[in-house]
Symmetry: C2
Subunit: 182 residues, 2 copies
């Protein structure tokens, strides 16, 4: 195949935040010309599809400031430094839902916005949920509400756009495709 690799000439650091970093790279294009690439660096994240014994999916409802909207999503969260995705997945499941599990199954991973960001999401599922006796605490700036829905109810919320993000849309299609059986 043709090699379209872009060589970095210079990388300008623009911003370092708590969640993301921003840099602008000067690159050499395949035709020898130069261009700039705006790049958001993200630590990566996990998302979990938690299914209860009575065949419901556990979602969290939360306000998303970038959209100025409240969305219903599958539980998810950022990787901490050096943390393996599976460890993050269990931690986020416990913190956001109050459930724990001994069986997290890896499904797939995907980049969310390869045009401008390096964020990757590792997706897990579990149908072996147990309520935690002692609730785990959320991050101090995190406020979520649990929502347990059947697959059909979740699909209705895709239509009303209460569910409206890529990882959750993927999760619902994944369950529909599997027939939501274990």
């Amino acid at each position: 195949m043709t090699n379209f690799t872009e060589k970095t000439i210079h990388s300008e650091h623009i911003f370092e935040g708590r969640v993301i970093r921003l840099q602008v790279d000067d690159v050499t294009l395949p035709d020898g010309n130069q261009s700039k690439r705006e790049i958001v660096k993200h630590p990566g994240a996990v998302a979990i599809i938690p299914k209860t014994k009575d065949n419901k999916i556990v979602f969290v409802k939360q306000y998303r400031k970038p959209l100025e909207k409240t969305l219903i999503e599958i539980p998810a969260g950022k990787l901490e430094d050096g943390e393996s995705p599976k460890v993050t997945a269990l931690r986020e499941l416990e913190e956001e839902t109050g459930y724990t599990t001994k069986q997290l199954t890896y499904i797939t991973s995907f980049y969310t916005s390869p045009g401008f960001a390096d964020e990757i999401i590792y997706l897990y599922e579990t149908s072996d949920l147990k309520e935690l006796v002692e609730a785990q605490s959320l991050d101090e700036d995190e406020f979520v509400e649990l929502v347990e829905l059947t697959l059909e109810e979740a699909e209705e919320k895709v239509l009303t756009q209460e569910i409206h993000d890529a990882k959750t849309a993927y999760a619902i299609l994944y369950l529909r495709n599997k027939g939501m059986k274990e």
Copy 2:
């Protein structure tokens, strides 16, 4: 439901690029405390699932600088100022694949990274492709290669991670779910 809305106290403009803008908002949290939100503003995008008469899907292979990797994705592109998603979808289909169509069907939309970005992708499909007599030109910093694959071949490339982004993973699951019939 509980109202978790976060009120903006102050919005600091950090960066304005060709593709994205970055701002940091000081917000009041539901418990009255304050926090900061790092927000990437994006114009929004479209993606298209183009199916040929011999039951193949048209993908584009391109280098993604944020990942330092070449990925195979469904055709996609950013909304221009004031452009409706359907117009963008036809333009991007023509520019990236050399095909045109009279029949673009809207499937769904989703936010790609609601935690830190407002990017939304509008997803379309078409199975009424016609080769353009005169090729449309790509953006001057865009280099793509066409790849036509059956659904089974595409699913293999998910496993090898040549296909590794959310919109394309969703598209493949969508086609699998439909049985890829029209």
